[in-house]
Amino acid sequence: MKKIEAIIQPFKLEEVKQALAAAGVGGMTVTEVRGHGRQKGHTEIYRGREYVIDLIAKVKVEVVIPDDRVDEVIDAIASAARTGRIGDGKIFVTDVIEAVRIRNNERGQAAL
């Protein structure tokens, strides 16, 4: 199994969710994060004092899927999340050794 970890723009979450549903991915976990990469951040001024806010609000979407679906899911996420501008985000893939469904102790791919 693989874990796909996509860091996307918050306003793209709805579309990514739909893309995943369309791809038949049943489960996902979403976290509020902040990050920066190529994207510069912005300046906020409070009573004349400037702060460069370089960590920008993003959403991390994690899905664990069977090995054979990796490319398909990456594509689904990437095309839903893409605007073509800096800040669109990244996708990282890692290995998952085991999965357990807490409810009934099912293991492995059956648990996804």
Binding site: E44, I45, Y46, R47, G48, R49, Y51, I53
Partner: protein, 461 residues
Amino acid sequence: MLRKAARYPIYIGLLSGCAFPSQMSAASHEAIMDAIRAAELSAHNSWVLISAALVLMMTGPGLALFYGGLVRKKNVLGTMMHSFCLMAVASVLWAVIGYSLAFAEGSPLVGGLKYALLRDVGMEPNPTYAAGLPHLTFMAFQMMFAVITPALISGAFAERMKFSAMLLFMVLWLLVVYSPLAHMVWGSGGLLNAFSGGLIPCLDFAGGTVVHISSGVSALVCALVLGKRLGYPHEPIRPHNLPLSVAGACLLWIGWFGFNAGSALSSGGLAASAFVATQLGAASGALAWMLAEWAHNKKPSTLGAITGAVAGLVAITPAAGFVFPIHGLIIGAAAGLACYLMVAKAKARWGYDDSLDAFGVHGVGGTVGALLTGVFATRAVNAGLVDPSGAALPLGWIDGNAVQLLRQLFGVLVASALAAAGTAILLRLVDWLVGLRVDPEDEIRGLDLALHGEEAYSLES
């Protein structure tokens, strides 16, 4: 309830004593006059009591929210506690001794002990101060000023002062700085009291010197003595919850009607005039700051707009009952601009850390207001200053009394000097007794946990 008999203690007996004579006797005439005076007193009292409540609302929740929203999440309770505890501490101190030191007869510099523990402060008017109000009402109204003034200072040392040191300092400050200054400006025979033969007659309708300059200058000294917050200015120290600050600023604005229009100590035309001046001062202060910021930074900020409104309110305070309301537009705008330049430009250059700009807004705004009062005050609005023949004297520059501007400046200097010296000495003393600043570790954890053992938000589900 059902305290009927007690409700009209003064006039009912008098009225029912008249036997409807076909010729009105002197006694009956007196009875009528007393009845009218009682009605008049009730009318004024209604306004000044609600004004007192409004002034207390400025501190809590007003200032508590305004300041609380501006600090970091880890210090919000510690900051709100400053305002809230001063509602308690200053009130008790005022009743025990502070009111007496400010308003009992004494020297030109400080009052006496006659009214300690509210002795002789009852339902009857005190003719010296507010002949048309119960003495208790005048005392209560003044109490709320003694609550907010130290609370304003607390913005300067937010996020780093020990709670015990804060309490001790504030108790001493109220006794050593505030009460004497209130006596000088408003107390009978006070040094700066224009209406009571003060040596240097200053005009301060609702507390430009007594409240704002004293708190603003003390705040600057606090910021300098306590030093900067860890990480200031290179780390981001942003307001954690601006909606709370907006709500707090609005409540300050609303409460300020009690502060200024209540200072008429009556509910007639003068209160109305001060009310409108207040509104226009606040409005033009907000606009001035907002436009200045828009021009400089390309964006008008919410924090700027609410800070500008407060600056305008500060500046109109000494002037409210002396100037034509429409001049509030000029006074507010001047303060909005001046405070903007101080807070957003000068402060950064000078590098002191006045956490929430208590000096930049109250010290600067109060000074602007005190001086412009010397310009715009006019007997056409307030004929309270009379020569021996009873003719109203000119008040400000536009009344042809340009020298008043110098007197106002003198008042500013006296108030500033007293506040600066008093604060500097008291801080040293408190530092020696209990220490002023929290440990760096506690500062990093935040005052809420370190000093109060609480967290403001526990938003996890």
